[in-house]
C-alpha cells in the first residue's frame, strides 16, 4: 500500500514537471473554453424547455462527442511514459529491484494517470459555476456527468497503461494506445450505423457513455463495463511485467 502511494506520488510529480503536461492542460482548457462558449452562445435567447438535456452543461458533457476527439490523443500522451519510459531509460531495473511487487508498480502508475485525468477536468468546474450564476444548474446531473468522465478515464487510461507495459519505448506505447482507442471510438460510431448489436457498440463508445451520464442517469452497465475492461487491462499489464522478469 505504501509502495503504491510512493510510486503514485513520484509519477504525478514526473507528469507535472514535464512541459507536456502543461501543453496538454492548456490546450484542453482552450478547447473546452471555446466549445463551452459556443454552447452557451447557442443557448442565449433560447427558451429553456426545462428538461435536463437543454442546458449548455448537458450538451457540454454529453451531446457533443466530437469534442472528445482530443482525448484520443491526450490519453496516449498521459499513459505512454508510465512504464515504457522506465524501460527506455533503464530505470525499470531500479524500480523492479526495490522491494515492491508488480501489482504495486502498475497500480501506482495507473492511479497517477487517473489523478492527472482529474486535473485535466478540474478547470471545467468553472463552467458549472458560471452557468449556475446565470441560470439553473442541476447539481445531480453535473455529479453524474463527472462520474461518467471518471468512468471513461478508468477505461481509457487502463488500456494506455497496458500499452505502456507492453512497449519498450514511450512513442511506441503512445501509437499503440492511439490505435486501440481510435479503433474503439470508430466502433462506437457503429451505434449510429448498425441495425443490430447497437447496444454492444454503445458500450464501447464514450459517446454512449456520456450521453447517458450527462442526462443524470447512472447506467450501471457502463460502470461494470469500464471497471471490467480496466481490471483486465491492468491484470495483463501486471502479467507483462512478470513475464519480463522471466523473458529478460
Amino acid at each position: 500500500m505504501r509502495a503504491t502511494w510512493t510510486i503514485l506520488r513520484r509519477e504525478v510529480y514526473a507528469l507535472f514537471v514535464s512541459p507536456m503536461a502543461y501543453v496538454m492542460l492548456t490546450t484542453w482548457l482552450i478547447w473546452c473554453g471555446v466549445t463551452y462558449w459556443f454552447l452557451a452562445s447557442y443557448f442565449v435567447g433560447q427558451q429553456f424547455s426545462g428538461g435536463p438535456q437543454d442546458s449548455p452543461l448537458t450538451m457540454f458533457f454529453g451531446q457533443t462527442t466530437l469534442f472528445y476527439l482530443p482525448l484520443l490523443v491526450f490519453v496516449p500522451l498521459i499513459t505512454m511514459r508510465l512504464l515504457a519510459e522506465e524501460h527506455a531509460r533503464g530505470t525499470i531495473e531500479l524500480l523492479m529491484t526495490a522491494p515492491v511487487t508488480e501489482t504495486q508498480v502498475v497500480l501506482g502508475k495507473y492511479l497517477a494517470a487517473i489523478v492527472f485525468w482529474m486535473a485535466l477536468w478540474a478547470p471545467t468546474g468553472l463552467y458549472v459555476y458560471l452557468t449556475s450564476v446565470y441560470g439553473h444548474v442541476d447539481l445531480g446531473t453535473v455529479a453524474t456527468s463527472y462520474f461518467g468522465i471518471l468512468g471513461v478515464g478508468v477505461y481509457y487510461l487502463a488500456l494506455g497503461t497496458l500499452m505502456s507495459a507492453l512497449a519498450r519505448n514511450p512513442i511506441v506505447a503512445a501509437i499503440l494506445t492511439f490505435l486501440v482507442l481510435g479503433g474503439l471510438f470508430l466502433i462506437g460510431v457503429g451505434q449510429f450505423l448498425a441495425d443490430e448489436n447497437r447496444d454492444l457498440f454503445a458500450y464501447l463508445s464514450i459517446w454512449g457513455h456520456m450521453e447517458s451520464f450527462s442526462r443524470g442517469v447512472i447506467d450501471s452497465r457502463y460502470l461494470v463495463f469500464d471497471s471490467t475492461v480496466a481490471a483486465v487491462a491492468l491484470a495483463f499489464a501486471i502479467g507483462a511485467l512478470k513475464l519480463r522478469r522471466i523473458e529478460g
Binding site: 505504501r2 510529480y13 530505470t91 523492479m96 529491484t97 526495490a98 522491494p99 522471466i246 529478460g248
Partner: protein, 332 residues
Amino acid sequence: MIEVRDLTKHYGSHEAVRGLTFDVPRGQICGFLGPNGAGKSTTLRMLTGFLAPTRGAISIGGVDAIEEPLEARKALGYMPEACPLYPEMRVGEYLRYRAALKAVPSGEIAGRVESSLKQASVSDVAHRIIGQLSKGYRQRVGLADALVADPPLLVLDEPTAGLDPNQIRQVRELITELAKNKTVLLSTHILPEVEALCDRVLIINRGKLVSEGEPGTLRGQIAGRQVIRLEGRGARGAFEDVLGALPQVKIIDGPKALSGSGEHQIVQARLEAEDPDAVEIVFGAIAKAGLTLRELRRQEASLEDVFADLTTDEPEEPDADDSDLDEKDEEE
C-alpha cells in the same frame, strides 16, 4: 552473504549463464570479472531479483531470493550498469523517493537520505536536477541510492565504467570505505580495479565460472612465468631466427619492425618464459648473433595475463570440450 547454486539463465535458446555456483562471504569485496558479454550483468540481475533464473538457487543473507524476493531485495542495494536515474528529479527528492520505495520508515527517511548523501559525497548537489549532473556525480548519486536503505549488501554493476581517472579513484576509495561494514559484489572488466579493490575474484567466461580466489592466488597460478619485453636494432628476420631458436622462450608477440629498414630496423618482441634465467639466455643469444639490444625487461605476469589465459575464446566445438573433459577424467 550470497550463496548461489547452479544458477542458469536462458534467453530463448541462448544460454547466458550456465550453472554458476559460488559464495560471497560477509564483509568481503568480491570482484566479478569477465569479458563483455560473459554473463556478468545477467548474473547480477538475477541476484537482485530483476530477472528470474531459468534454474538454480539464490540465497541473500540467508533468505531464499526466489521464494521470498521482497525480503531478499530489502537486504541489498543495487546500482545497475550505466547507472540509470530519473533525470527530471532533484538529487534529494530522488533519494527520498527511493528510501520510501525501499520501505525505510517515514521517520528515518530524512536522516538516511542525509547520511547517504554524505557517504557518497554528493551533499553539495542535493538540490540540483539529476539530468544536469556530470557522469561522475550521477554515478555517485547511484551509489547513494544503493546506500539509502543501509542494506548489508551492495551489488554494483561496473561502478567505474565511463568515468575519468580522478572519478574512478574517488569511486574506488568510496567503495573501500563502504566495505568496512558492508559486503560488496562488483562487476568489472577492468583488471587493475580488481587488484586495487577486491578481497576475492570470481572470473566468468561465456556464462561459466572459470576461476575464483584471491587476486594474489590467481596471479600465483601463473607464478614463475615471466613476460620479457625486448627492443633491438637489426633485421627483423634475424631477430625472428635467433629468438625462434631458443627452446626456453616462447614468442607471444612479434618480432615486428617499428621503423628503419634493412640492418637498421627497430624491432620489438614480447616473449614468455618459465626459466628464471631466460633473460640472460636471450641476451647471450642476441649478442652472439651480432644484433644490437636497446631494451630487455622482465615483467611479472599480471592478473591481465591470468585473465587472458582463462577467458581467451577457444573455438567453440562441443567435441573439443568433451575430449578435454574426458582427458581430465582419465587423469583423475
